[in-house]
């Protein structure tokens, strides 16, 4: 606590420390006057941009596939690619990433293959999560990407604990945790931020402030100066960035990681952006926001902004763009089609992983279930065949 004393009665307002937004790139891809671009190699820039293009294509194609009934559910990252991928690029592979659900760009950046995405979305026997969770709940131990959990904000205090354990282990790794401005209203957010600050955890808290939590606009979500003001309140180094500006996001995150790993302390990054698509395929935003508002944000598209910058640097051409998009469209559709033939997980997977190994009770329940399915094979088409012999 500061020990400054005053003899004048005066109340502070919630906006006395206006927090500015770091902005480096203009919409046309040129740098703002006086802005200093972060050190970003051509190789990394290309990898970021390539990931953005892939995610755009994946999102577009999977929304289409959901409409055709080929998968049950989908959520896009559209409009937030710079925030998600630009941040992930500033971390090392050994750093843990804990996402909310709209961060598949970070997972792709780490190397998750198109095939792995499809296995998860189609809940098949090759899904790393064994078909148990809804589409887009990815996870990869190999890529240090914690499996997504639907209950909001639960990953935030976990990220403090994970990072604390990383610090104890002493291998200079940290944890990057993503969450929405809506999720930041949950008690878990406040608990996690406070614990990370007090216990000096190398956690980078990355808030994707995209203006909405389903239908609820951020004006109905919080009354203060965004999420960033709370970082200051918890005694944490904090920065707000233009989330559609990949250079600002990257620069802020390189710095955040450095502070987390070298000083052993948490950092809060708030990226201001906009959810250009529907909340999910179950949602229709026309019931709560206007076309004009969406168009205003479409005009400051983060992918286009990065493309303009890349072209100006002569690191990218329209021709390369065209080829990349065509290739990804084909790859996504071909992979989807091929993956539709992969069978569902075996019935036995129903009882594995509840515990380290199934107990007698679960084994008995599975045995009765098998007997039952054998009696009514036509009612359980996904598993009837496996019950009748083929299963291990």
């Amino acid at each position: 606590m500061s020990d400054k004393i005053t003899h004048e009665l005066r109340l502070m307002s919630g906006f006395e420390m206006p927090i500015s937004t770091l902005s480096l790139l203009k919409a046309d891809g040129s740098l703002h006057k006086g802005a200093k671009a972060p050190k970003l190699s051509k190789e990394t820039a290309l990898r970021i941009y390539d990931t953005m293009l892939f995610i755009r294509v994946l999102d577009e194609r999977m929304v289409g596939a959901q409409r055709q009934g080929r998968l049950s559910f989908y959520m896009t990252c559209t409009g937030e690619e710079a925030a998600v991928i630009g941040s992930a690029a500033a971390f090392e592979d050994k750093d843990m990433i804990m996402g909310q659900y709209r961060e598949h760009g970070a997972l792709r950046y780490r190397g998750f293959t198109t095939q792995q995405f499809m296995h998860q979305m189609l809940s098949n026997s090759k899904d790393l999560g064994k078909g148990r969770q809804m589409p887009i709940h990815y996870g990869s131990n190999e890529l240090n990407y914690m499996t997504i959990s639907s209950p909001l904000a639960t990953q935030i205090p976990q990220a403090a604990g994970y990072a604390y354990a990383q610090k104890l282990e002493g291998n200079n790794a940290c944890t990057l945790v993503y969450f929405g401005e809506g999720a930041a209203s949950e008690g878990d957010f406040h608990a996690g931020m406070n614990m990370a600050a007090v216990l000096k955890c190398p956690t980078v808290f990355f808030c994707r402030n995209n203006g909405y939590a389903i239908s609820t606009p951020s004006e109905e979500q919080y009354a203060g100066d965004g999420i960033a003001a709370r970082g200051v309140g918890y005694g944490m180094k904090t920065i707000r960035v233009d989330g559609n500006d990949v250079l600002a996001v990257y620069a802020a995150c390189v710095e955040a990681r450095k502070i987390a790993v070298e000083n052993h302390e948490p950092v809060l990054v708030e990226a201001m952006s906009y959810r250009l698509g529907a909340h999910s395929t179950s949602d229709d935003p026309s019931g709560y926001r206007s076309r004009e508002e969406e168009d205003k944000w479409r005009a400051v598209d983060p992918v286009l902004r990065m493309k303009n910058w890349m072209i100006a640097k002569k690191w990218w051409t329209e021709a390369e763009e065209k080829t990349a998009m065509e290739n990804y469209r084909k790859e996504v559709l071909d992979t989807l089609k091929a993956t539709e033939k992969v069978p569902a997980p075996a019935l036995g997977e129903l009882i594995t992983d509840v515990y380290d190994k199934p107990d007698a009770n679960l084994e008995n329940q599975l045995a009765s279930l098998r007997e039952h399915i054998a009696k009514y094979p036509e009612k359980y088409p996904k598993t009837a065949a496996s019950v009748n012999g083929e299963e291990h």
Binding site: P151, S185, P345, V354, L362, K382
Partner: protein
Amino acid sequence: MAKMNLLQAVNNALDLAMANDKRVVCFGEDIGKFGGVFRATSNLQDKYGRARCFNTPLTEQGIAGFAIGMAAQGHVPVAEMQFADYIFPAFDQIVNEAAKFRYRSGNQFNVAGLTIRTPYGGGIAGGLYHSQSPEAYFTQTPGLKVVVPSTPYQAKGLLLAAIRDPNPVIFFEPKRLYRAAVGEVPEDDFELPLGVAEVVKEGSDITLLAWGAQMEHLQAAAGMAEAEGISCEVIDLRTLLPWDVETVAKSVKKTGRLLITHEAPITGGFAGEIAATIQDHCFLYLESPIARVCGLDTPFPLVHEKEYMPDQYKIFEAIKNSIHY
């Protein structure tokens, strides 16, 4: 009478409750202008204004605590938890606060007006976190009432009763039936009593008991059994806490057999409580062990949802086993 689906019946009950009592206030995530992710609160903000129907910040523990505060002050909050799977951040407020408000203060304070509505249950490809049936966590909490309607008619009558009941009520809405269940519902204000089961169909060979969405599977199974000459008495429990022991015991004394079914995992589920009480009341009348057809002792799976569900075929098999015991 009007034809309504279960969602429309909920909406209609909220509308009437708000029209007839200015103290009734509805709030929760996305329930304002948008009318809720399932549209249960459609048009209520337009009709009653933002002060009485509003979006809250995204915090279930906040919503529950806020509702408790309003109720303690004398208002009648009807709070929505977007999915029953997301009620757990509010668990402390509900279990330690709402349920014990009256008792701990020697009845100086209460949260009589409190109702928490929440959609529950599987069968919608929702996987682990959009499918759970957490009723049993709450039935072990004295001070709460736990209500689960299975039809549009019940949804309206029970919700109006829940809102006006002078105790905190958790109202679990079967989301699989929101649009699927359609039926005749009186347009006027009416209440169905809490704590009273409904004998849906009389029969003599076995008593079949369920609540909420599971009634659909139960009735389908009863149909299969009847076709084989087994006479089923079908009971819809409607309220789990406090539950109607008398109606169930009376039926079991007549039929000599009882089958209970719920979607929640079998271990620690509410069927176990019912079975223990009924064997106590009806031990000498029972001709076979009380049967339970329930969810497996696993989290709720996505890809094996069909296999997991205690469906009509599993219930039908259990009926036959009980009869031929």
